[in-house]
């Protein structure tokens, strides 16, 4: 694994090689391994080690980036030349800021996060992952089911150095377990992710997935229409994840956000409160952004009203001069920028949905539901309408009819076309928030939700 000291030495070399006014160097990579199983056997089993260095040079209002995964002198020379060649031919941009210096405003004080590198994860081997898989397959066989899934672990680094003195470094471990249980005409699924492998219980995930497959066997058709739904946390995560790139200052400036003309207005129910907080104990990731600026804790939504956006440094500067400056709440760099140059600006990636004062667990939601649909996960979600934030997608791997407070039977899967503006205005109950993991959006800390009038438009064949 590349260390911070080694990276500092490489940065010094690159700085010496460069003729640019300023230079910024990102380091990334690490080791990862993934054991994949299907049909109750391991069918793919991989490991990888790769590190990269990405150089951004700046010449009088011009900037560009070049990246390599080679660290020998010739490659470092080549990556500098490539970055400088791309930079020099551009027209100067008066809006390009000097590199981040780390001390330019009070909001830039370093963000402290808990350690996110765990021996429990780093110590996993092909053998120990196979043992975990064996446990999950054992549960499948006991229930006469077929299991498919992954057991993965990784150790990664992320670092940024620049010629104004920034030297930020982050190490991270990560463990993922995902399992699908297949029966003749039904399936069940569960997934967990944590920096600390000891937080994940492969057997529990497999047993829950198995019960979903068994419980949804012989699915029946319920006509499409609007129903009360109980969305488990993974389903909530995957659908709400489609709105967070719109909480970017640059998205407002570009007029591509559904929040244009909606900031400061009540657009969700009063029970919706959303934060971005990299330091939250259930969160993951580095405490700095693509320019090395510290990630700040930001309340995005308060009682259903969008209060704030996130900003990279250049976006905050532009927003202060824009026609929107009085409509978007506080404008400060929040440490959410992507590496420059880029077209997207920034995004909140450490989402926390505040839990209600009196959380309602999924069993209680079911017990209080006269007629509704329990949804394990959502799949293949895509944006239909960018301003009304209508999303389409499918239910998958465990969809159930709830009647008179009880789960009755499995259902054929639905297609939904639902506006997030409607959905988050119709949340009747929420559970406590948990770290959830899906396939359509990044991991976040979300509750299960009971939502009225969720719009299913079609039914598929299984």
């Amino acid at each position: 694994m590349l260390t911070k000291d080694q990276a500092a030495t490489i940065f010094a070399k690159l700085k010496k090689l460069s003729t640019a006014d300023e230079i910024e160097v990102l380091f990334f990579g690490g080791k990862s391994a993934l054991t994949r199983f299907a049909n109750n056997t391991i069918h793919q089993n991989v490991a990888e080690e790769n590190h990269g260095v990405s150089v951004r040079t700046v010449f009088a209002g011009r900037t560009a980036r070049a990246t390599t995964n080679k660290f020998d002198d010739a490659s470092l020379q080549r990556v500098i030349q490539a970055s400088e060649a791309l930079t020099k031919v551009q027209h100067p941009d008066a809006d390009l800021l000097p590199l981040f210096s780390g001390v330019e405003n009070k909001s830039a004080s370093p963000t402290r996060i808990p350690s996110r590198s765990f021996e429990s994860t780093l110590a996993l081997t092909p053998e120990s992952r196979a043992e975990g898989v064996e446990q999950m397959i054992g549960i499948a066989k006991r229930h006469k089911l077929t299991a498919a899934g992954i057991f993965a672990n990784s150790e990664t680094i992320e670092g940024i150095f620049n010629s104004r003195g920034v030297a930020a470094w982050h190490t991270q471990s990560s463990c993922d377990i995902s399992v699908t249980m297949l029966a003749a005409d039904s399936s069940g699924w569960q997934k967990g992710n944590s920096p600390d492998a000891s937080n994940l219980d492969a057997r529990k995930l497999a047993e829950t997935a198995a019960q979903k497959a068994i419980g949804s066997a012989g699915p029946q058709e319920l006509p499409a229409g609007k129903y009360t739904v109980i969305l488990e946390p993974a389903a909530v995560l995957d659908i709400v994840g489609f709105m967070f790139s719109d909480f970017s200052g640059l998205a407002i400036l570009d007029q591509r956000s559904f929040l244009n003309d909606r900031i400061g207005k009540q657009i969700f129910g009063g029970n919706i409160n959303i934060w971005d907080d990299v330091a939250h104990p259930l969160q993951s990731g580095a405490p700095f952004d693509g320019e090395g600026a510290p990630r700040q804790r930001v309340q995005l939504v308060e009682n259903g009203i969008v209060k704030r956006l996130v900003y990279a440094r250049p976006t905050a500067e532009r927003m202060r001069r824009s026609e929107y400056k009085d409509q978007v709440g506080p404008i400060v760099p929040t440490g959410h920028g992507f590496p420059l140059p880029n077209e997207l600006g920034e995004a909140p990636l450490n989402i926390i949905f505040s839990e209600p004062k009196q959380p309602t667990n999924v069993d209680q939601m079911i017990a209080s539901t006269e007629r509704g649909v329990l949804v394990t996960r959502l799949w293949y979600i895509r944006e239909v309408d960018p301003y009304e934030k209508i999303l389409t997608g499918m239910t998958r791997d465990g969809t159930f009819l709830v009647e008179n407070g009880k789960v009755r039977h499995g259902l054929l899967n639905f297609r939904f076309n639902e506006s997030l503006l409607h959905m988050l205005s119709n949340v009747e109950q929420m559970s406590g928030s948990v770290r959830a993991s899906g396939e359509e959006s990044f991991d976040m800390v979300v509750p299960a939700m009971k939502v009225r009038d969720f719009n299913f438009t079609e039914v598929t064949r299984f």
Binding site: N45, A64, T87
Partner: protein, 488 residues
């Protein structure tokens, strides 16, 4: 590079692998983009490394590293064997590979103009010229342009004696104009959405696309959509433009024919397929006019799925997928071929880069053009009532690939054989086999384009792959239109 591959193969042999292959890939990319008259992206990247795939104790192991020093390469190979032995712990049947004759070969994408030989100034000049055309249209609130170039050199060697050196080029180019007004964001893209058109060829693609010539029209359409009527809801005859049809082929034919999906290997992520093995040569996939092939050969065209050999050394082939409407073939690999009674792989195992295990991927899955001469305008003239839909805006399909829904950026009402009012917020949905059986006309070869899909995701860890889809505008009867907005 070959020496490095031999270091890896030798260790695999010494440690008892029954089979091993080593792939070294040296990849280079350039991405240039503008946004609202400013630079959006200017980046070069290169990546070099080795992936070694082994069968040990009858099971697979794969290990990859960016460190190509001898000691590190040998460690990587040894790790692949350790992984294979861990896999074998849960083995049911030993891996069986369909035979493939060892070859020594060189192959390179036909490339008239090396895209990396074009100056950055010239590229930026083009992008800013397009940007000016887009931004000059009143009402355009966001203009984006992009150029992308990729070159990938690969050395593939195996313990069976195969030795292939292959170099592939790909180019992508396109732009989009957005218009935000009131409570509506509309968008038009050219030549297609999601970065435009992508093919395995050099800079000549950029010259062929007539990018600048179409910019004003596209910007004007983005603005005009605000005044257009919403697409009606109901059942209609639908004519799909080629790039939209290409994505329809990708999602509702390309994915379900992947044999790994059919066999449950993707059940945890990408999903399975409705095309169970009993459906081969029995299922009426589409109407008699539907002929689909998976063709990786150069003679099919410069698609993103065109190559000389796949990533386990199998030569490019053409597999009939749907023949006069009958389902006739899957996408297969050396490991899976025998499961459909084939004695040879279809040559579709592909990896995103050196650090990924090759898996079954689409090559160029194309709907063959109609045999009788038929232009798009003639097809519209031949249609009494319907909707013509162009350029993808959204796409979604279930995990067995039955139920789909697509949205397009723009549409036009067809009345009495004429293209009438512009329509916005168009969508259509259906069940895969019902949809393909409703096809009653395909435009002919002159209208056929091999479209590129650069962003197909599959596998764990996920891999992004480029695929090709030849399509000519086609007509479908009695299609459900407009349910994307139903209830909202």
């Amino acid at each position: 590079m070959k020496q490095i591959a031999h270091w890896a193969l030798n260790i695999a042999n010494q440690r008892g692998a029954s089979y091993a292959d080593a792939r070294i890939v040296d990849a280079r990319s350039r991405a240039l983009a503008t946004k609202n008259s400013k630079l959006g992206q200017a980046s070069d990247s290169e990546s070099l490394g080795l992936g070694i795939r082994v069968i040990g104790d009858g099971a697979w192991g794969f290990s990859a590293s960016d460190d190509l020093r001898r000691e590190a390469v040998e460690e990587t190979a040894a790790r692949a064997l350790e992984i294979a032995k861990a896999s074998a712990r849960l083995k049911q049947d030993a891996v069986r590979l369909a035979p493939e004759k060892p070859v020594t070969a060189e192959w390179t994408t036909p490339c008239q103009i090396d895209p990396f030989g074009i100056s950055i100034e010239q590229n930026l000049e083009l992008l800013f010229a397009i940007d000016r055309e887009l931004c000059a249209v009143a009402g355009v609130t966001l203009a984006e342009t992009n150029l992308n170039f990729h070159r990938e050199e690969q050395w593939f060697l195996s313990t069976e004696g195969t030795d292939i050196h292959q170099t592939k080029y790909s180019t992508g180019a396109g732009y989009a104009a957005y218009a935000f007004a009131g409570s509506d964001i509309q968008k038009r893209s050219y030549p297609s959405s999601y970065g435009g058109q992508w093919q395995n060829k050099g800079y000549e693609l950029v010259h062929e696309l007539k990018l600048l010539e179409n910019a004003s029209r596209i910007a004007e359409e983005a603005v005009a959509l605000h005044k257009a009527d919403k697409c009606p809801e109901g059942r209609f005859t639908v004519i799909l433009e080629g790039s939209q049809l290409g994505l329809q082929i990708h999602e509702s034919i390309g994915h379900p024919i992947e044999l790994d999906r059919v066999l449950g290997m993707e059940a945890n992520f990408a999903g399975t397929s409705f095309l169970t093995l009993d459906k081969l040569r029995t299922l009426r996939y589409g109407s008699d006019l539907v002929n689909v092939v998976a063709d990786a050969r150069q003679e099919h065209g410069p698609g993103l799925g065109t190559f000389g050999f796949d990533d386990e050394g199998v030569p490019a082939q053409c597999t009939p997928i749907v023949t006069n409407g009958l389902f006739t073939g899957y996408l297969s690999s050396r490991e899976t071929a025998h499961m459909v009674g084939a004695n040879r792989s279809g040559g579709t195992l592909r990896a995103e880069n050196w650090n990924r295990l090759p898996i079954i991927r689409m090559t160029n899955v194309s709907l063959l053009p109609g045999e009788k001469p038929l232009t798009l305008e003639q097809l519209i003239s031949d249609t009494d009532n319907g909707v013509y839909m162009e350029t993808n805006r959204s796409w979604s399909i279930d995990d067995k690939r039955y139920n789909f829904q697509f949205g397009t950026e723009i549409g036009w009402e067809i009345k009495n054989g004429k293209r009438r009012r512009m329509l916005k917020n168009c969508s259509y949905s259906g069940i895969t086999t019902e949809f393909w059986n409703s096809l009653d006309a395909i435009c002919s070869r002159d209208e056929w384009v091999l479209w590129g899909t650069p962003n197909c995701g599959k596998g764990q860890p996920q891999q992004v792959m480029g695929t090709g889809h030849g399509a000519a505008p086609s007509r479908f009867r009695n299609i459900k239109v407009g349910s994307a907005y139903k209830g909202n």
